[in-house]
Amino acid sequence: MINISELLEEIKASPFREITVRTPHTGRVTFAGLAQGQEVLGPQGQWKERPGTLLATLERERNPKPICATEKGVIDRIYNELEGQFVEAGTALMVIRHMLTRDEVEYLILKKALHLFLAPERAKYYFTPEVDKKIRAADAHSVVVRDGMELMIMSRMKREVPLHYSGPEGVIYAVYFKYNENIDAGAPLIGVCPQDQLPAIQDVIMRVRTEWTEK
């Protein structure tokens, strides 16, 4: 089993994450008038149904699109010189210093505690339709995976190949990939918790809950 206390100390030494806000596509940028040092909020509400603080607007083909903060944090750097400019896709607009939340710490520690199923190749990954349906209907915790089970579809070079799960039987505890995102070979796809280790994992979560204070 892993040493949670040590891990927690390690994270406490540097409890930040820098988030670079990039343009999702080309267009003309208008900043929302924020300045360095200002605090921004991530999505709000019980279901995160209200978007975070408006950071900038990116207009392309007469369609102004808001760019909102995805996490709570403080603006560390802001590239105001881009105001009114046409920018390429993926241009950095600002950097937000984000204090790790309890959930994120949990995520970091779980990544060490769970059995990780890794991407065999750089590709886009999707769950098979049956699994996807289950996850959408309830959540990932409801899906039990077994060795050899057809779990995902690996899409690369315009070809889709089924991907079979290998590893201990258990429930999917964490999902590490997003829709339409390329995953590097060796990066974790899902974190699986074997049934008999569930109490131990829950213990880890409890400890994070009690020992990590959010600021």
Partner: protein, 485 residues
Amino acid sequence: MLNLQDLYAMPLESHKVLVANRGEIAMRIMRACRKLGVAFTAIYTEEDAASGHVRLARETGGEKSLYRVSSYHDANELMSVADEAGCTAVHPGYGFFAEDFRFARRVMKRDRTMIFIGPSWKIIRELGDKINTKRLARSLGVPTVPGSDRPIYDEMEAERIARSVFEFQEQQGIRRPLVLVKASAGGGGMGIEEVYDIDVFRSVYRRIRNYALRQFKDEGVLIEQRITDFNHLEVQVVSDRTGRNPVHFGTRNCSIQSTGLQKRVEVAPGFAPGPITYSFDAAKVLTDIVDYSLTMARKVGYDNVGTWEWIVTRKGDPFLMEVNTRIQVENGVSACISRIRKDGRVIDDVDLLAEQVRIGLGQPLGYTQDDISFDGVGVEYRLIAEDPDNRFTPWVGRIERFQWKPQPWLTMLTHVPTDEPYEIPTEFDPNLALAIIWGKDLAEARARGLSFLDDLRLEGRNNAGEELKSNVNFLRANTERILRF
């Protein structure tokens, strides 16, 4: 604001073309533009930053000639960059938006009109619809695959047609007749099944019909003869914006394909009636399909480059398959055997891409069919990192060495850098290079092809340390088969 006619009237030097593609074809378009003195703007994605086309754009493009976009598939990105860079035309290359009539329509109909370098959108739409193409062909007496030319909705009628198709094949002396049932609204291999016996037809028909209803909300079904033993031929057509004077640049034979029915070797011309004996009059077949293709092009007023795809059965019957309303990968192999007599001199380095850009921007063709002549045999190899022994599965990894011996008869088209290692991006087709070889006759072309493959150095490793897999051996083995039926 300029309208389309104003744009067509502009001199070439005032144009700027958005190269809406990547890799090898993007490089060919850029070179064609430079040859014509037309400015260009290229695009790339983060994944593709190491591609040769990015380097070429950086080295040879002028101001505002390279932009990073989120995706090649997002038309909005292309329009946005085109406006920012001041482009007057868009070249779609092949794949992506090349045969998307909506994209072509948008380029033309938006407030800031641009030229779509390709046929006009109505032609793309008309010939992009297979039923429509088939009916158009039949209305002009152009042969098509026997079967229905409209969606069938009635079960009794469907069965009657299927029965006719079986009987028809029996009369033709086909030993194992097959009938193809496919959803008329489908495409890309979905909702297609073969029937070998009329007794199982009904169940297959119902399955396809229900599938079509579920998938496409249209229960129309097409019923055709399934032809199994054939050669795949093409006719290269070129026409300017008047749409009245189409010419052809000969035929190609693309019968050497992967198991996934993707082309691996293309040869021009389509048959070699001299050195090889065929069971039918090959010369007449070539003339016929060229004539048929031009008849159709004239009828629809075809106004850019395009390819008429044919299948030719062992008995020598040609059937029109479809029309590709775009420049094709293998256009270079037709170009290398062609010569044009223009303004009293002979052009022997024909560049169909440059021709496409030139006439696409509104220039008149400037020559007729009589000015075009053919000489020799061209062979194109598609070099791909894949495993031919394992259903042509793409190989992913890093190319460490890529070298070949330059020859006057060889043209290499590649976006893979030869002076540094290259990671194959996983987003796209795994094509590495096109090698176009010319010989004065079939024997010479074959010999040169083999010597090229022998000299080629292609090495690399993947994450697991395994060696690169390529189709070089497959190409070598198939060189013997070239142009044989």
